[in-house]
């Protein structure tokens, strides 16, 4: 049985890890997935309330805590509802069954004769006088979870499937709710002078000049090449840190060259190479190919990262907006040489991260300082330029799509060739914490790895087309030494791969003289995908989209995220003059059973807006000194005046398993824009972002 249990339960078999019925007739559900702005915690509470038949208002959720909540790894990859949700459903169904089975024995009836109303048990219409709080025993909580209890049929759902408002939002529209707001006794503020890169050595630091700039009391903490300014007055340490960089000199800092900022730089660099899926060589025939790219992009969280840490009596307590409290605890143990049991990590809400940003690094900053200044709370707030300058970026990617065509102009063989740096470089997958690299005994160089294809892949994510081609393969070049640190950013390789695949399909359709939607449908048997494409094509007025080259265009694309999670089709209408403006967007998505349709819609639409931003505007520039886009002026994102009207439709499939959908509109949006711009211009731009300069160049070509 345990082989088929979700990993979350396999790793946390004890019922008491998940559920606690409290004396005030409330229930605490503990989960390992954390709220990052996606609304997952509200949805998980809905699932528990549904299976237990307990009013939602009685359920509190503890999420992300190494002391009291289960270890569910990282909150990533659109897995919160698909995996943790399934776990919560199995756990709560089993708990209900345990308790009701015993009650049925006592009443000498079948468990099916017992109904539950807001946690109270009724036999037929008669109250039994028992409820979860009175009838559950220690043994119910102590026993391991088997995971084989029957769960409710979706047709009976009353709470799941409802647009329940987010639990954390009332506080957040009233000025509360973030880690940045926490105040602890004896709290000191800290700012960091960052080591410019791995291996850089601090040659000199003009502490006197920095003290003058700070203009108040503070300590300068130095551990190896790690430097922090720590004091009671946040304004003072902020001034010191802002002034510090010119007062430090570093040795062993390699210079960069401007070409490093482009995806094309990756091609031909030393790489780990694989051929996946069809390993045979492509046949001879009519070969067409085109290459597409995305540059390095930032998570660009609205809030620079923040963490608090306290070191008392050899024990470390940390508050963090990390995506994974247990993995962070392991990293802290490794960096500080402490046993994991001596460390507690509590999750606290931060701004949206969209992947691996500075959250974990700042927590290590705080912990290292806390060890130097024990018995006080150390609050570290990164600065804006620090977040842009040091968060791991989403890697640049260069993708070549290559097809061998049959007489009808359809691919009989397809190759997606990907050049990319790593998409996931957390400490658990070969990466280093920034702070660790500055300490006197730094860790070995990072070891480039990428997620396995079974987990959706990294550079290969969505690289394999789901069309019915006779032969298809991915050639993956994992470039070993990118010019800047990279790690997980929403969708990993999906954005660029779907952009490449779905733009190339349009190009092949054009070459075959076929309408792109009809061309897609002629190559695609998956009924769920077909239904979404037809849905979006009908709503966007595809049939009357008109000729190419008028300055106005409509484009369409679709994908199934990770080739196994939620489906989304997106169409956009663009106007192209000097710049591209997305005027309208239409989306249809199929995520199987949707727990909270309003939350799902928020994720689908948010993914569309963020993808428009990345496709049209975003690029981290590199210069000789490293990253050059260190503020919002130099790293512009989509503004209110640039956001289109979005019409999203969830195509419900409540009897099918829930599919992770937080990232599913990302790639289709990028590709739909690529196709719409090609339709508007009559010529194609294959490199993101689709800027004014690229439009001008395309029109002159």
């Amino acid at each position: 049985m345990s082989d088929t249990l979700p990993l979350s339960i396999q790793n946390n078999r004890r019922m008491e890890k998940w559920l606690r019925f409290q004396p005030d007739r409330t229930l605490r559900l503990a989960v390992g997935k954390v709220e990052l702005g996606q609304g997952n915690v509200t949805a998980l509470a809905q699932i528990a309330a549904e299976e237990l038949d307990v009013d939602l208002s009685r359920i509190s959720v503890l999420s992300g805590d190494t002391q009291d909540a289960p270890d569910e790894g990282q909150t990533t990859s659109s897995q919160s509802i698909e995996v943790s949700g399934r776990s919560v459903r199995l756990v709560t169904a089993e708990f209900r069954a345990r308790v009701l089975d015993r009650l049925a024995q006592r009443l000498n009836c079948s468990p099916d004769d017992i109904t539950v109303e807001d946690g109270a048990f009724h036999h037929g219409d008669t109250p039994t006088g028992h409820d979860y709080w009175s009838f559950a025993t220690d043994d119910d909580f102590a026993r391991d979870i088997e995971g084989n209890a029957a769960t409710k049929p979706p047709s009976s759902y009353r709470i799941v499937g409802q647009p329940i408002p987010r639990r954390d939002l009332p506080g957040k529209v009233s000025g509360a709710g973030f880690i940045h707001d926490m105040v602890r006794p004896d709290m000191l503020h800290a700012r960091i002078l960052r080591q410019p890169c791995r291996g850089a050595v601090l040659a000199s630091l003009n502490e006197a000049a920095i003290r003058r700039a700070g203009g108040g009391e503070f300590r300068i903490v130095r551990v190896g090449n790690f430097v922090a300014f720590v004091g009671a007055d946040e304004t003072v340490v902020q001034r010191a840190a802002a002034a510090a960089p010119p007062h430090a000199t570093w040795d062993n800092v390699p210079r960069m060259t401007p070409d490093m900022q482009d995806a094309a730089w990756l091609v031909g660099k030393p790489s780990s190479d694989r051929v996946l899926y069809d390993e045979s060589a492509p046949p001879a025939g009519t070969v067409v190919e085109a290459s597409y790219s995305r540059p390095y992009v930032a998570h660009a969280s609205m809030a620079p990262s923040c963490a608090l840490a306290e070191f008392r009596n050899g024990r470390l307590e940390v508050w963090s907006h990390t995506q994974g409290v247990y993995p962070l605890r392991a990293s802290l143990a490794n960096v500080l040489g402490l046993p994991a049991e001596a460390i507690v990590v509590h999750h606290a809400h931060g701004a949206g991260c969209y992947g691996h940003n500075g959250a974990d690094d700042v927590a290590v900053d705080a912990a290292v300082i806390a060890r130097e200044i024990p018995d006080q709370c150390i609050r570290v707030q990164w600065r804006r330029e620090e977040e842009f300058g040091f968060e791991p970026l989403g890697t640049a990617m260069h993708v070549t799509a290559r097809a061998v065509l049959d007489e009808a102009g359809k691919p009989r063989d397809w190759t997606t060739e990907v050049w990319s740096a790593t998409h996931v470089q957390r400490p658990s997958s070969g990466g280093n914490m920034l702070t660790h690299e500055a300490l006197p005994t730094p860790p070995p160089d990072p070891r480039p790895t990428d997620p396995p294809e079974a987990a959706g892949g990294g550079g290969t994510r969505n690289g394999l087309p789901l069309y019915d081609f006779p032969a298809k393969r991915i050639v993956h070049h994992l470039v070993l030494k990118p010019p800047t640190r990279t790690s997980a950013l929403r969708g990993l390789g999906a954005l660029t791969n779907v952009f490449a695949l779905e733009c190339f399909i349009d190009e092949l359709a054009e070459r075959a003289g076929t309408d792109p939607v009809a061309y897609r449908l002629s190559l695609l048997s998956d009924p769920r995908a077909r239904r979404l494409i037809e849905n979006v094509a009908a709503r966007c007025g595809w049939a009357s989209r008109g000729p190419a080259g008028t300055g106005r265009g409509i484009g369409l694309a679709w994908a199934r995220y990770k080739n196994k999670a939620a489906y989304a089709a997106v169409a956009v209408e663009v106007e192209v003059e000097q710049e591209v403006r997305v005027k309208r967007a239409w989306c249809a998505a199929d995520a199987g059973l949707v727990i909270n349709p309003d939350g799902a819609r928020n994720q689908l639409d948010g993914g569309i807006v963020q993808a428009i931003s990345m496709t049209l505007k975003e690029q981290m520039l590199l210069d000789a000194d490293g990253r050059a886009s260190l503020d919002w002026e130099h790293y512009p994102i989509l503004k209110f005046s640039e956001v289109p009207e979005i019409e999203t439709e969830i195509v419900h499939a409540p009897d099918l398993p829930t599919l992770g959908m937080g990232e599913c509109t990302f790639g289709p949006t990028a590709a739909a824009i690529g196709n719409a711009v090609a339709h508007a211009l009559g010529t194609r731009i294959r490199d993101m972002p689709l800027t004014r300069e690229r439009i001008a160049a395309a029109l002159l070509a």
């Binding site: 809030a303 701004a351 949206g352 939350g599 989509l638």
Partner: protein, 155 residues
Amino acid sequence: MIELTVNDKTVSVGAAEITPLLDVLRNELDLKGSRYGCGLEQCGSCMVLVDGEPVFACSREVGTVAGRHVTTIEGLGGTHPLQLAFLEEQAGQCAYCLSGIIMSAKALLDRNPSPTRDDIVTALDRHLCRCGAHPRIIRAVAKAAETLRQERARA
């Protein structure tokens, strides 16, 4: 000491005149709702009202607001029609940007009770939202405007 009015209460603060208003609000007055985002007047997370006009608190020196009226998200009390409309529309994801956006929206609705979509977009265009909640935010501001108009009509 610098005297100013914050959320209708007169306060004296001991910070130096050049201290950013945002630091004074957050650390001296314990009003944490105004947020640090960039310190450069580029994102709007720190937006507060000074005598009713939106002001970036991150770069505004506290000395320059002596004797003036500062309103922060806490001054809206939690049940302002804007706050309720943002909840009705679930107009946010991470919500870090919302304090500042709600303050700019308040300034807009105070001077223009019937804003068009373009008016709302223009009033919010200095604000960044990374989650992509913009369409909901625009709807929420329009909904709050309608609520306020109805309240005024009843009054």
